[in-house]
Assembly symmetry: C2
Homo-oligomer: 283 residues x 2
């Protein structure tokens, strides 16, 4: 990870990501936020950023702090600007609690329109035993200096790329053919990942990480927006400090939909998060 | 699939599975059911059967009939007997609708206790274009007559095995080491799958199929119950008639939890469903 000067490197709790996902509790279970325009890609507010916002509200509403498994259905497109999150506690237990949350914005008449609904179970990652029998292996990525980010070349996609200013993305060249007009045909995307201001990852930023790479559809040779219908993330471990590696795979493009399976690995070679989303493609 | 006599072979709509997942609408959005004792394993009501019950209620409550993506959080253990399902329509759209549902049962004082909460988006599978670019390959399974089901050997697990009487399960011998005291150590389970009365698969029975095999934990050498915390299923295609192939993989057993990734392939070699569940293991 390119080291920011220690005087300016952001920390967990004091960073762009924390400020832009902070919610204000207006009443029990009701939170306000001004959705940032800084996490948009092609003018759409990034789904992982939105999931992190909802995740933060649920962390406040539930007696457990860490998302273990969180599913989001994306109903209508969110816009930068005012939003409200309404949470319900479904069940509280000793080691797991479950909650539901809705993100809503306002139409021209000021009525609430639901953007996203989420169901999630939370726990305490630090209380989990150390027993690790992961048989999966980390993705093979070239060293970071041999990978490329949006800042390293011409902007390959039109429209707002504000989110790319907030991320440290260094993509595997073997998944960058699309940016050079030569997509590989394989539904894969791999990248080193971090936050541009140097903030280390935490369970909430993992919710962003799983949805922050270019779409695998680009490598399959499809262009245009690939909107997420539903996204489920399992957070399995508090990530170690340092850069993450994100590897995304699509194996079932069919009938106008595709799935994206993401794995997030930390610097200690732990598989810290797994996700799958269902997304629509325009054929 | 062993052919039942045509006079007795069940059909979609008239089968054990249909009768045991049928719900009665008591009022808009409110459905009653008597959960069957026929779909239990080791005295627990099977999670896929429960998901199918909820799926059927949502199919009635929503303007679209087929689950596309459905996530369930399992809160407390269901029991055979009376239950109520309460549904809410979250959003209706032209091609997709989203709903939420809760399965509740009654405690000794007759109060409702929530067992499962579900969030799901439904559509019309028959309206999807035929464009299929699935790169995944079906699992390799020996022919059915070289695979083995619960009826082919001594009962390897104690307790009620009622569900095994309702399923046609023929497991790949290479994932049956656990039944002979020699687990492979690999988190894999593969099987031919159908319903014992001969009913063909449909989108709702796929919700059962993804959770109806023995736990991969058995092949890893773990014993005992592996309760599901959360299960998300993508239904991608109406299954063709004939037997299904189910392949389940676990790659991230860590911290007292594991994931099970299931793929369901139909007789036309289509990847008709994909799921991932997060489950707890007792170490």
């Amino acid at each position: 990870m390119p080291e920011a000067a220690s005087a300016t490197r952001a920390t967990i709790g004091d960073s762009e990501f924390d400020r832009d996902t902070a919610v204000t509790r207006r009443a029990p279970g009701v939170y306000d936020i001004d959705l940032s325009a800084g996490w948009t890609i092609i003018s759409a507010v990034n789904g992982g950023y939105l999931l992190a916002v909802l995740g933060r509200a649920l962390a406040d509403a539930l007696p457990h702090a860490d998302p273990f498994t969180i599913s989001a259905h994306y109903l209508t497109a969110s816009q930068p600007g005012p939003a409200v999150i309404r949470t319900d506690v479904v069940r509280t237990g000793r080691t797991l609690s479950t909650g539901q949350a809705s993100l809503l914005q306002y139409d021209e008449q000021g009525r609430e329109v639901e953007r996203i609904r989420v169901l999630a179970s939370y726990g305490d990652l630090d209380s989990l035993p150390d027993d690790v029998r992961t048989s999966a292996e980390p993705p093979v990525l070239p060293p970071m200096h041999q990978c490329f980010g949006p800042q390293d070349g011409p902007t390959p996609v039109d429209g707002s790329s504000a989110i790319t200013d907030r991320l440290m993305l260094k993509l595997d060249p073997s998944t960058l053919g699309w940016a050079l007009g030569a997509p590989s045909g394989k539904g894969e995307m791999r990248s080193w990942f971090g936050l541009a201001d140097g903030r280390d990852a935490d369970p909430l930023s993992l919710l962003l990480a799983v949805d922050a790479l270019p779409p695998t559809a680009f490598e399959i040779g499809l262009k245009g927006w690939v909107p997420t219908v539903e996204l489920t993330v399992h957070v399995r471990c508090r990530p170690a400090p340092g850069p993450l590696r994100v590897s995304i795979t699509t194996r079932n493009l069919a009938g106008g939909f595709l799935e994206e399976d993401a794995e997030v690995w930390d610097a200690a070679d732990r598989l810290v998060a797994q996700s799958r989303q269902l997304a629509r493609v325009r054929l």
